[in-house]
């Protein structure tokens, strides 16, 4: 993937990418006010006097947001700055009530860290994180509510964002996508951002430049506020090609801010460098510098759950789950939670060591469950079969109550009805027949009913044993224990 190249008339071009991800911090209250942060409230229902920048109102720091940023930094193995400063970024806009955004400029709360990308086939790549700083979100301007007026909704005004700035370490749209995916996974694991890009709680500014491999960095353009991973990839593809075309036509790239239009699949200029704001950053005199001690950092560290990379390693090395299965399961927190809950329940129910069950369980989750969910266009969290129910089903297979084949049928019914596996097995009489006498009786009937096949078998056509097994299974509605059928059938056929 790092060999991604744009073929131009003058040769191959390399794409250089850096991302600034804005991630809405999970916290009950906003960064500097007590107003709620819940999504989807009526316009202007969650606005404090501070958020509306009423005269004389003052921001006070919400310590939980600082803690969340520190936890995020720790999860990215980053430098945590025990001293950081909030600055004012001054500009005018209707949905920016203060006339400035409180952000962190010179002294961010988190310094350099790393995100490890999973590029498939067990390949990884490290992408550097430059910094993470906290800042206020702006409100929302609504231009479609009135023919002449713009309406402003300040519910989002003052909500805490983490701006996670990567180094220009990515070289392809896929890498940028993998970076966002991995970052989102980590944030969701540690509960610092819900990662819902469609709700705007995570969005990316994408810095794109192109160069001939080995050349110094080219002039970059920043594509603002891209709100899906797919759009990020599309925007990069378009923008990189645009830049190559300009340069190859003898032009130069203007450093500018651009917007991605998903309906047209193209980027267009928003403002040039000359039009760029002079933000007149200076330390916010309403706020003291943020200072905390090692104990605060350690408490934040202890609050972190097992991180995705560690989890994957454990699945593979300790539980014997395949690398592929482990990658997929760990990639989505909900999937991983489901798998872990199922495995624990299965181990408890069967009394067997989880290590002996994990590979099978992961195959079932990845195969039967994901297949059904996919077909039904449902996410793991919407699964009609809970992890506990799944474990009960697998336990029935494990103790021989039903066969793997029957389990698939039972699962289908479970998925449709939400009923428990045991109830379905009971109700439909699907218990595996392991009674020797009963199986022998059926075998005898099958042999008696098929004299021609018996003759051919005895004449040396060994393969016909499969035919007899099939007939026995058919006669028992698939409930006969296949191992026992094999064991009992051969002596009888052999006479």
């Amino acid at each position: 993937m790092s060999n991604y190249r744009i073929q131009g008339a003058t040769g191959d071009w390399e794409v250089v990418l850096g991302l600034e991800v804005h991630a809405q911090v999970i916290s009950n209250a906003k960064l500097f006010s007590g107003a709620s942060t819940e999504f989807g409230a009526e316009p202007n229902a969650q606005v404090s006097l501070v958020d509306a920048a009423m005269p004389g109102m003052l921001p006070t720091i919400n310590a939980e947001c600082i803690r969340q940023a520190v936890r995020t930094g720790l999860a990215l193995g980053a430098q945590i700055n025990k001293f950081s400063v909030f600055d004012r970024k001054n500009y005018f806009y209707a949905d920016l009530p203060q006339g400035y955004q409180i952000s962190q400029f010179k002294h961010p709360v988190v310094g350099e860290g790393t995100v490890t990308l999973d590029l498939g086939d067990g390949k990884t790549k490290e992408v550097g994180v430059e910094r993470i700083h906290l800042e206020q979100d702006a409100g929302k301007s609504m231009h479609d509510q009135h023919p002449q007026m713009t309406y402003v909704d300040l519910n989002r005004s003052g909500v805490a964002l983490m701006e996670i700035v990567s180094k220009p370490d990515m070289r392809s749209p896929e890498e940028a996508g993998a970076y966002l995916t991995k970052l989102r996974t980590i944030l969701r694991y540690i509960g610092t951002c819900d990662g819902n890009m469609e709700q705007g709680s995570m969005r990316a500014d994408v810095n794109v430049s192109v160069r001939k491999p080995g050349d110094p960095l080219g002039t970059r353009c920043e594509i603002k506020n891209v709100n899906s991973i797919r759009f990020v990839r599309q925007a990069i593809e378009y923008e990189a090609q645009r830049q190559v075309d300009i340069i190859e036509d003898g032009g130069v790239i203007d450093q500018e801010t651009r917007l991605f239009d998903p309906s047209k699949g193209e980027t267009r200029s928003m403002r040039s460098k000359e039009e760029a704001h002079d933000y007149r950053y200076f330390p916010d005199p309403d706020l003291l510098p943020v200072e905390f001690d090692d104990a605060f950092i350690e408490a934040a560290r202890e609050s972190l759950p097992e991180l995705p990379d560690d989890k994957k390693a454990r699945f593979v090395e300790e539980l014997g789950v395949s690398d592929y299965n482990a990658s997929v399961l760990v990639g989505e927190k909900e999937s991983c939670d489901y798998f872990e809950e199922l495995l624990a329940a299965l181990a408890a129910k069967t009394g067997k060591d989880a290590k002996k069950l994990a590979a099978k369980a992961s195959n079932w989750v990845m195969g039967d469950l994901f297949g059904a969910l996919n077909k039904a266009s449902k996410s793991v969290s919407e699964s009609p079969v809970s992890a506990k129910q799944g474990a009960d089903l697998l336990a029935l297979v494990e103790d021989g109550t039903i066969s793997g084949r029957i389990a698939k049928d039972v699962f289908e019914i479970m998925f449709e009805t939400g009923k428990d596996a045991e109830a379905i097995v009971e109700e439909k009489g699907l218990k595996q027949v392991s009674d020797t006498g009963e199986i022998e009786k059926i075998i005898d009937e099958v042999i008696a009913a098929n004299p021609a096949q018996l003759e051919q078998y005895r004449a040396g056509k060994d393969k016909l044993i499969g035919f007899f097994v099939g007939q026995v299974m058919k006669a028992t509605g698939g409930k006969a224990n296949p191992g026992m059928v094999n064991q009992l059938l051969k002596p009888k056929l052999d006479g």
Binding site: L49, M54, M57, F92, Y93, P97, Y100, T150, R280
Partner: protein
């Protein structure tokens, strides 16, 4: 019957407690006095009905034995402080019609103690000015005149000092960013007190320069200042820069005993061209301190000459950002342009809503924060500010308090300096350094100049040592025995 408006807060407090007078009587007398003082233009909004309600509640409190220093005391509130449902505009056109849904912490503290609000007081627009000539509501007149000539009351707390000097309030809230309490106090023969930065909450105070703004009081004497300051002080979680320190009983500091105390005289405050009588009065003050048993120590504050330029970078820089919220979008004035867009609305609103001085400071502030100028101006100013604070820190290793003139002149006539911003800014030359260092300070009225206008001396203390400032102020007041009163020409 004695004129209740001539009582001090301390006297009224004692009479209220004894039941000799009621807050209702006291408040009625003051409401009449407020109306009689219209010529001063000190009040820009009167709240007599509210005052009577508050007075009655105060009387009930007193009856119930719940009596504090400010209970039942009628006061005026600088228009900078948010008062719920009442005119709060920092005397700017841009906040036209603004009545907040909230109360500033400083005023809430007063009301919690049972004080009575007479109304909102005139001030320089957004507290930017030294003569109260920049108010959208017109200039305030100083109760003290130069013969038949009007004089300015100083600024920015011009309404505060005029109402107190003119017996139209027993005390008034004020705010100091570079001298807006002490300089007008000096011009009007009142006692002005600015506490340590962080002593009072800024919550609900319309911001001018956040790192400098600090609430304080205007009263007619030192004891009243101590009583009122104690009421408005205290930590507030809603202001990150307020400090969680216990509030001492300031009145208890008025022991009258400064024997053995070391009083510093900064040599850099001997300003060339300063009127001889101010220099003489300062010398007189030094003699009074000596006579009271204090030791006089010459000190140096070497960076004093940089204080004014530093202030006029830091304060406008913060102001340019603090005033960005007045954009016509959510409250106050909105001017739109036919067929225009958002930027046109901003420009029209701010062009119409801000006065010249405010615009001047927004432009200075925007300039000094701009890319390419930030390091040369704002950053350097912050460094110099630190040096100025260090000057004081070193001086206070040797002395307990510092004595200086409050202002380089007595009150001047309206228009005398309003065309010359630099001349106007020079008014704050003695008050600005302590503001930059966040120190507590007072202005004590000590005498009259040849024209019969009051002059004050400034006393500065260590951070959080308001008690020493009060103590020294009290001794100065007693020694000066300043009993002159303005002729009540406005009645």
């Amino acid at each position: 019957m004695t004129d209740l408006t001539k009582l001090s807060i301390a006297e009224a407090r004692d009479l209220l407690k004894k039941g000799d007078i009621t807050s209702r009587e006291l408040t009625e007398a003051h409401i009449a006095s407020v109306d009689a003082a219209d010529a001063l233009n000190a009040y820009i909004a009167k709240t007599p009905e509210l005052a009577m309600e508050m007075a009655d509640r105060a009387d009930e409190k007193i009856k119930a034995g719940d009596h504090k220093g400010m209970t039942g005391i009628p006061v005026g509130i600088k228009d900078l402080f948010a008062t719920k449902g009442v005119h709060t505009q920092a005397c700017s056109h841009i906040l036209d019609g603004f009545k907040p849904e909230y109360e500033s912490t400083v005023t809430q503290n007063l009301w919690d103690d049972g004080a009575v609000m007479l109304g909102k007081l005139n001030m320089d627009e957004f507290a930017m000015g030294s003569s109260n000539e920049t108010s959208f509501y017109g200039p305030v007149k100083n109760p003290w005149r130069r013969g038949d000539t009007d004089t300015v009351p100083g600024g920015s707390s011009g309404g505060s000092v005029a109402s107190v000097a003119g017996f139209a309030a027993m005390g008034a809230t004020a705010s100091d960013t570079g001298g807006s309490i002490r300089q007008p106090a000096s011009f009007t023969g009142t006692f002005g007190f600015k506490p340590t930065y962080g002593r009072c909450s800024r919550y609900g105070m319309v911001a001018f320069a956040s790192s400098l703004d600090q609430a304080g009081t205007i009263t007619r004497d030192v004891r009243d200042g101590a009583i009122m300051m104690e009421s408005i002080s205290g930590f507030d979680a809603k202001d990150s820069t307020s400090v969680d320190m216990p509030v001492p009983n300031f009145e208890a500091a008025l022991t009258g005993d400064i024997r053995g105390m070391k009083i510093g005289i900064p040599q850099e405050y001997h300003l060339a061209g300063m009127p001889g009588e101010i220099e003489a009065l300062w010398h007189q003050g030094i003699e009074w301190m000596k006579a009271a048993g204090a030791e006089i120590v010459d000190i140096n504050l070497p960076h004093t000459k940089y204080a004014l330029p530093t202030y006029y970078i830091v304060a406008p820089a913060e102001a340019s950002s603090n005033l960005a919220r007045y954009d016509g979008v959510r409250y106050g004035l909105r001017e739109t342009v036919e067929g225009g867009g958002l930027v046109d609305m901003y420009e029209a609103t701010r062009a119409a809503g801000f006065g010249d001085e405010v615009k001047r400071r927004i432009m200075i502030g925007t300039y000094v924060l701009s890319a390419g100028y930030y390091d040369a101006y704002y950053l350097k100013a912050q460094k110099v500010r630190q040096l100025i604070a260090n000057d004081f820190k070193m001086a206070f290793e040797k002395v307990d308090a510092i004595l200086t003139p409050t202002a380089p002149s007595a009150a001047f006539a309206p228009g005398e300096k309003s065309d010359d911003p630099i001349a106007m800014y020079l008014n704050d030359v003695f008050t600005v350094p302590a503001s930059l260092a966040g120190l507590p300070g007072s202005s004590v009225p000590v005498g009259l100049d040849a024209n019969g206008l009051p002059l004050g001396l400034q006393i500065l203390g260590k951070p959080w040592d308001e008690e020493t400032v009060f103590k020294v102020s009290g001794v100065m007041e007693e020694a000066a025995n300043f009993t002159a009163k303005p002729a009540e020409w406005w009645r």
